[in-house]
Symmetry: D2
Subunit: 354 residues, 4 copies
């Protein structure tokens, strides 16, 4: 289904070319204040129209239709919608029965048949990450009130890595990576892919600091389970790892284990953070760290091989429309949004137990 969460629950609705997209956020405590300007700035980080992204123009301004009195939650579900304005369904006319390789067109056709929304990816469109950012952008504000910060960056684009220190340093305004030189290189990598009629993937790294120890549940209710489950709801994600992740498979226990010690304040800390802040599914008080693999945008200008589901013939096709040669930078706030929602949800669970 289109929902996730336990104490708070986010439901996403809409299609790329429907009248609107939107979200409902249930279970929020009453009396939380939303800073709409800050929320809009957060939305803008994901919005299209940047040099490296699709040229579709959408201001992505959420309209709140319920759940707020003024700028404050009242305990009722918060629903916000974003009207789709700059739709060009005609761009997709020739694709109706020819699934784009790497897209969900074919599986949508199998699952929903001829009644599926055939324009712009329908409900599988990356555009559906906008409402996810409404929910996450609000919750990032609520977490900050509790001393919890969520930060993500593009850790790599193709083979180019961000060599800046993170999360110590902030990301750039032009591009969500730390090092200025890396940012230039990354933009170059994306421009090169665009020039070739191709696309390129990358890795988003996310760090959540200030999470108290003891958040999360054992076994299937752990932070890793919940973050992973929600992160794969972002289109184009093909992998996730926590802490040392896949590297941990190559090393020894004596290197991997994080030694405990009492810090100056009498709190238990670990000398390293190979676990990514999570042991047994539960936060240990260190920063939560994870990395997400984003595949290259499947929409590319190069001709590709596909099938015509109506005529039953193999065909060569070209994807028209306006597409990002790299969605990694726009995925950065989306990953933050998902992390924030899951952490906040787990935080509310933990509170009920004490």
């Amino acid at each position: 289904m289109n929902s996730f969460g336990e104490n708070i629950k986010v439901t996403i609705f809409g299609q790329s070319h429907a009248p609107a997209i939107g979200m409902t956020l249930e279970g929020l405590p009453a009396g939380l204040k939303v800073d709409f300007d800050e929320l809009q700035r957060f939305m803008d980080r994901r919005a299209p129209g940047k040099s490296y992204s699709t040229q579709r123009k959408e201001p992505d301004a959420p309209e709140f239709v319920s759940g707020l009195v003024g700028n404050e939650t009242c305990g009722a579900p918060v629903t916000a919608i974003i009207r789709n304005k700059d739709t060009r369904p005609a761009d997709y006319g020739n694709l109706a029965d020819v699934p784009r390789p790497g897209h969900a067109d074919y599986t949508a056709a199998v699952k929903f048949g001829d009644a599926r929304d055939k324009t712009g990816g329908g409900q599988f469109s990356g555009r559906l990450t906008a409402p996810l950012c409404i929910a996450g952008g609000m919750i990032i504000q609520f977490l900050r009130e509790r001393g919890i910060e969520v930060k993500a960056r593009a850790a790599s684009i193709g083979t180019v890595k961000d060599d800046g220190a993170f999360p110590e340093n902030d990301i750039g305004e032009d591009f969500p990576a730390v090092s200025e030189s890396s940012r230039a290189e990354m933009l170059g990598e994306i421009e090169k892919a665009r020039a070739e009629g191709d696309s390129v993937g990358g890795i988003v790294e996310c760090v959540v600091t200030g999470v108290p120890e003891g958040i999360g549940e054992p076994m299937f209710g752990g932070l890793e389970n919940r973050i992973a489950s929600a992160v794969f709801g972002i289109p184009a994600v093909k992998g996730i790892e926590f802490g040392r992740g896949f590297e941990s498979a190559r090393i020894k226990g004596s290197e991997m284990n994080d030694p405990f010690f009492f810090d100056g304040d009498g709190r238990v800390r670990t000398k390293t953070n190979n676990a990514g802040g999570i042991l047994g599914g539960i936060s240990d008080g260190m920063p939560i760290t994870f990395r997400v693999a984003i595949k290259p945008t499947p929409s590319i200008a190069k001709p590709q091989e596909s099938v015509d589901l109506k005529t039953k013939e193999n065909v060569t096709m070209t994807v028209n429309g306006r597409h990002d040669p790299c969605i990694v930078p726009r995925a950065v706030p989306v990953v933050e949004a998902v992390a924030a929602i899951v952490i906040y949800d787990a935080l509310l669970s933990a509170e009920k137990e004490n």
Copy 2:
């Protein structure tokens, strides 16, 4: 919580040194036959007592207390328990208030306080994967009836890779990898870690063939979401990737996209399978492939730094007890079990729609 699944739901219970561990499997159709001998052989692949594993002796023979009439499901929840026999809680006496690095001891102490089960990892013990294998082992049989095969292998141990072809070839009886020479090298890697009082991690690769197209839900209900969520319920998992996974972050869209074509039978297939059989969360008819990063066993013989939660002092501690220098081989059937449960669950969802 300790459950997952939608149409079928698995609940795991027990602790390492409780009277028993077990599972309840709700939602199974009536009339499915269980081959108990085959199930036991599956359980034995995970059971301890092998050269490369802990010397704890547990036959791991499930006792079914409900849900079956003879060897057939009757539509009621199936519950099976395994009595814990070879328990030695005394081994853990000195650890009660000194959390083992890399284990959930510390986070369990934060979450559950002094009332937590302090022996053998309590509910966080790897032993809880045995009941998961009861559920998965049954379901693997039900899937086979539908032409779906679930196979996993140790793709690497530390830096040693299995260079055999998979899933075309079967895994060895002595060790769950394909190539005979790789198996010898992997066992050597494990033996070396044990000799050093250390441990080593690895990667489990899983392939599910025969899954029909159209299984899974969009967004948060996708196969990737569900498999990832459940896989992180296996202790020591730190990452998961589908298809080309993290590699996809480094390549171009033209390399990543799988071209469609009609095969001889008039079915849509893809020439490559970089997507790992999943597009938009939904199966595309190609094999489902994923890889799981398993960290090295945190229990090692080497002295480690930790804290005494009672005296509030930093201490050096040594883990006693019987431990695996590498849990990767025993995790192989557990990953199969989880994959089977999720796929079967999704399969039942899909059937209701048609």
Copy 3:
């Protein structure tokens, strides 16, 4: 939370005086056609503005913002909103801190504190049954395609019973009861309550015909559990009974048990239907019948005793605003809506098993 359902899930959002109210319906199969005119006629049965109801004027015309392509479901969540137009929050100014007896004002104040939406009942308003009717009105159409009819009536208003045969006969256009003379008496009962500055309750009876046998789950997933759980989501409901209901507590087993027989078509039927079509939580092929007790509208013109939560004083208060002296007739389509949603949801569950 504000959702219910398993295979399909309805989420209701909005408050009485928020910009909008609405609903999201997830899990609908693709390709189902919605007759918007019929839906509007269904909505109109619940809408205010009738002789016996509040004078608030709201056309209650749903705007579908997602999930439909033309008039057909596409497999994405269906979201529809209704703008609130004729709001008069000023009517509620004097009630902000004086809870109306019989309303949720006091419990809302306890639960959500000062941030609660204080106007018009907020999220507890009966107005939230309008979006429930969007979902139910659509599903009634889908059920009819499968030969399932959902019909409800006002079985009694205060002490006046509808003495018409039901569901054999249809309800009247002026009032949702069968017998013409009973309808006149019922309207008189309501008019009398209004004239006295009082209100009156009643019973809604619902019958669902054409439900195939075998729908529903054992124990906590039975039709009775699910219908009851959802029906208590309708404000003012204080009781529910299935088949002979409370009467069954007074009779003998030999009177209560419904004898089985094979009907002419070789189908198993029961000679009586005291069970209300449900045995062990599962449909037995006979009509599903249940009755719902609706308390008198708590908003009455008579002065009432209450408390001022700010000044901490006992006070006498009068409820202003526009209110129904009896909400039973408007609850009739709402009960149909809830019954339809639950039955359809259970129907989809059952299909997956066969």
Copy 4:
């Protein structure tokens, strides 16, 4: 499915003649103490073997296999089983294909086919209320620690009402009603039914005192929704009403509304409790009161009309086996158990919000 609850979740398993029945209770905080003797006394109130019940002899002594360390919860799921001992499946041989009127035999046959457990009602047996009492009996102890008391009685048997004051007075040891003379009359009513080869129903009334205000969620998450949903999981329940219930449908708003006032302690109270302690699904601080209609036991000695599902013929049948002429007294602790579980679950929800 066989589970309910959100913060805590109860899963029931077993069949009447399976090796065992049992329950798993997830989500309990760690460190709660169980008084096993008191629990056994609670179980005994439901157990068979009394004058008015079946002669099946089962001590119903739960064996805890996980989740407790000593007598204290440790944060892991608590699982307990009860071995079935006094099974006589032969009693049911002649019923295999002839469904007993009023039982779930026919609907079980439709739903689960020939693989269903045909002996003793299988998973639909009233015996499954024993594990429900393990869960509820524990939780009643936890609630008492918080000043919350759960009490139920047989308010009527057939047409005989208990005319004692409740919950002010305790129920009798011989029979769960307050008035001594009513108890004698009720036992007479039951004995008469038994002598006639018949059975009789009744009403269970439950009162929960000490519930703080603000417990429960709006709309579909209200206390009424949750209690109703779980109560219909008790076999033979055909109706439920809260507070004045069905009577409220016959009265005026001015009679029904409970006037608020500040009591001596400065707490808000209501002068009457027609709402049964719940407004808008949320507790208002007054006692939670509800009444449950229990139909007469469907197993009666009198010959009844039924069908042979194999031969497709109408038949006359007689129910053998050991049956209660009235299950109402044994249902009394079961209703308490369900009420306790739901209230405790809602209490944990509420705590997380503050």
